[in-house]
């Protein structure tokens, strides 16, 4: 974004320099000169309907009256916002409005300011409603331009034209976001649909509207969630060496541009936001319409693919496949068979590495030749899993099962398959490379449900920003973020509006990573529904109770101790010599600077072993620090003191943790 051309103009004798194409109204607002502007909003394109914002412009050759909301500054001009001619014109306009809508508050206020006591005219279609529609068009513009819906229009049915829903008052496609009601200057639109009877619907709407405003103003330049959804992360993760490639061996690939968001943008249905819930204006779900399937039971049919999202694309690079058609096809069939794209792709990446390493061969897979990049074989495996047949019966049971099966039946080296089988607590890793972020290794390993990043995504904070250098810093992050993100699940709320769009002043807050203004918004959502006021701390507290209770539940089910927070070594460092050598500078530097060993002259095997020793010890230190911060024993069991403090010290809970040294 290059700096724009600046133009100096004069408004009411005050000089101001503005970017070319700024409107006169914006220029005046920037130096606190007030111009009444009834049909204008920063959220929509100007429209020029009310004509209250007229000003006189002198360009050196002639003067003219223009509407300031849609007059772009292109050369030096002089502007007069309250010359006699301007005031006279504005007054006439207002008198006409007042004669037509005598009880509308905003018109009454503006008229009073203009010194009008009683209009000189009588309007033939006078409307005495204090909440009459004044035809400013703000509602239709925000619905169309801001929300990308097109629900409201002017209709002339009945005596009075007004902003209305095109097919009567019950338009099934209205998402109920409330933006039209919020922007309407007269209160002509009210939201009536409150099926959940919240305590304070207005509070919820106001908090929601703040997010909506940010989406309208900033999304395109920030994450473009409405344009491409989470797929925008594909090229970003590649740039930071975090996109999993070939079972997490590498973090980037020269073919990533073939599956970047720009490619999917071309296939996605355009301009139609698709939210998971009514009212969501982030609407990051994307779809490919009319996609022709090449395999499987629906071969040859044209279908709608719901996606892909980032994880689905990252799963494809993880299998070494860089083909958008493959991504769409496997996305569709995973959805159709009821499989998770993450588990399928991470599991298949494991199969592929085992195939290349000789753990598997064509005979063991029942005829499948399945090295990295084998897209036809990957799809065939997917169909076998769907049908519950052949090798699909084994692969479909997940990595934890496969590891054991390969060792017991195929003579696989247990060390190798356990190092590269990317699962924790039996769940497959999602699609981020965690090798260079110790905090994120903990984020996956300690997560209660298994290796998923939805408790904590700390890679940038840790690896790029270097904001959490010590074990204590990482442990604090691994306390706050998992608790905060657990809260979303407790309430059934989506977390993306929390940090995939950002308020303009977020950078100036004390803790921008927490997006404090949005946490406040979530407090208001909660209070709006329940009537109970909340703070950031009280939300965390809610989660802490549940989180600890879940840990106890894990313990009861045989998953709640330190040994269960172990991670496969691929998640912490380079398993193979090839992996080490691909990032040799990085690992050599770590040996030299952090471990204090001079790696020169050492073989790669030796360096792999030393790096491993160091990194595995780091992970154990991290567990120590996190358990301590959370009030758990060194074995990862919540202490009785902690459970008592949280008020979940029920007799059977105490009995259970006591048995495990809590």
């Amino acid at each position: 974004m290059a700096d724009r051309e600046m133009i100096r103009i004069e408004i009411d004798g005050k000089s101001v320099s503005v970017e070319k194409d700024t409107t006169i109204l914006e220029a005046a607002q920037s130096i606190d000169i007030y111009i009444p502007a009834l049909c204008n909003s920063e959220l929509v394109e100007p429209y020029g309907a009310c004509r209250l914002c007229i000003v006189k412009v002198d360009d050196g050759r002639k003067t003219k009256l223009v509407t300031s909301c849609n007059y772009p500054v292109r050369k030096p001009i002089r502007v007069y916002t309250s010359s006699e001619m301007v005031l006279r014109n504005r007054k006439i306009t207002l008198e006409m409005m007042l004669s037509r809508w005598p009880n509308v508050q905003v018109i009454k206020d503006l008229s009073k300011n203009a010194g009008i006591k009683k209009p000189r005219y009588q309007h033939p279609a006078v409307d005495l409603n204090p909440n009459a529609c004044i035809l400013c068009g703000l509602c239709m513009r925000i619905c169309e331009q801001g929300i990308w819906e097109n629900i409201i229009n002017f209709t002339t049915r009945g005596a009075v034209p007004a902003g209305r829903m095109s097919y009567g008052s019950d338009q099934p496609h209205c998402i109920g976001c409330g933006a039209c009601a919020e922007i309407c200057p007269t209160g002509a639109i009210t939201m009536v649909d409150d099926p959940n009877q919240p305590n304070d619907a207005e509070m919820i709407r106001k908090a929601g509207m703040r997010i909506t405003k940010e989406m309208i103003k900033y999304d395109e330049e920030q994450c473009d969630m409405r344009g491409v959804g989470t797929a925008h992360l594909v090229e970003i993760m590649d740039a930071y060496d975090l996109l999993p490639v070939m079972n997490y061996r590498f973090g980037k690939h020269e073919e990533t541009p073939k599956i970047s968001s720009d490619i999917f943008r071309k296939y996605f249905t355009k301009g139609k936001p698709d939210g998971c819930w009514l009212g969501c204006t982030m609407a990051c779900a994307k779809a490919i319409e009319n996609f022709e399937l090449k395999t499987g039971p629906y071969k040859g049919e044209r279908v709608l693919v719901d996606g892909p999202e980032y994880e689905t694309v990252g799963g494809s690079s993880n299998m070494g496949i860089f083909d958008p058609y493959f991504v769409a096809e496997y996305n569709f069939y995973c959805d159709t068979y009821g499989l998770d794209t993450i588990s399928f792709s991470t599991g298949t990446s494991f199969v592929m590495e085992c195939y290349e390493a000789g753990v598997l061969d064509k005979e063991k897979t029942g005829g499948l030749e399945i090295p990295f990049g084998a897209k036809d074989a990957a799809l065939e495996l997917l169909h076998q899993i769907g049908r519950g047949e052949g090798f699909g019966l084994i692969a479909g049971k997940g990595i934890r099962y496969m590891k054991k099966y390969f060792v017991e039946n195929f003579g696989a080296d247990p060390g190798f398959v356990f190092d590269i089988g990317m699962e924790a607590k039996g769940m497959e890793y999602s699609e981020y490379v965690t090798k260079e972020s110790l905090a994120q290794q903990g984020g996956y390993g300690i997560a209660l449900k298994g290796a998923q990043h939805d408790e904590a995504w700390l890679i940038f904070m840790d690896m790029v920003n270097k904001q959490i250098p010590t074990f204590e810093d990482k442990a604090e992050a691994l306390h706050y973020f998992p608790m905060w993100r657990t809260w979303f699940s407790l309430c059934g709320l989506c977390k993306l509006p929390w940090n995939d769009v950002e308020p303009a002043d977020n950078a100036e807050t004390d803790e921008p990573a927490k997006v404090p203004a949005h946490v406040q918004g979530y407090c208001e959502f909660f209070e709006g529904v329940t009537g109970k006021p909340q703070t950031m701390d009280s939300l965390i507290r809610m989660s802490e109770k549940v989180y600890n209770f879940q840990r106890v539940f894990n313990l009861k089910m045989g998953f709640g101790k330190r040994e269960h927070d172990a991670i496969p070594y691929r998640s912490a460092g380079p398993v193979t010599v090839e992996e080490y050598e691909s990032r040799q500078d990085r690992y050599d530097t770590q040996l030299r600077e952090d471990v204090g060993i001079d790696p020169s002259g050492m073989s790669s095997e030796e360096k792999v072993a030393l790096t491993r020793k160091y990194r595995e010890a780091q992970y154990e230190h991290l567990l120590d620090a996190v358990y301590k911060r959370r009030g758990w024993t060194n074995n990862g069991v919540p202490t009785i003191a902690k459970l008592t403090e949280l008020g979940i010290d029920f007799p059977d809970v105490i009995e259970l943790v006591t048995k495990h040294g809590g």
Binding site: M1, D3, Q222, C223, W457, L458, F460, A513, V515
Partner: protein, 65 residues
């Protein structure tokens, strides 16, 4: 020489925040830039020059995913 997120980078006269972001290949859009602790607004990345020996923080605001 300047330090960007703990990494040493060469300095030259006129090096801007944008230049550093490009050099580091920081593609992520939600960034916060500080030069010696002072916040630099996003619309000033092209015009803000970094002094020699400065400590630059380019904070990536993703704790999401």
């Amino acid at each position: 020489m300047i330090t960007v997120n703990g990494i040493k980078l060469d300095w030259y006269e006129g090096k801007t925040v944008r230049d550093v972001i490009q050099e580091m290949n920081y593609l992520f859009p939600l960034l916060i830039a500080r030069i010696n602790g002072k916040l630099i607004p996003r619309n000033k990345y092209d015009s803000t020059e970094i002094p020699d020996k400065a400590t630059v923080d380019i904070i990536h605001l993703m704790s999401g995913g």
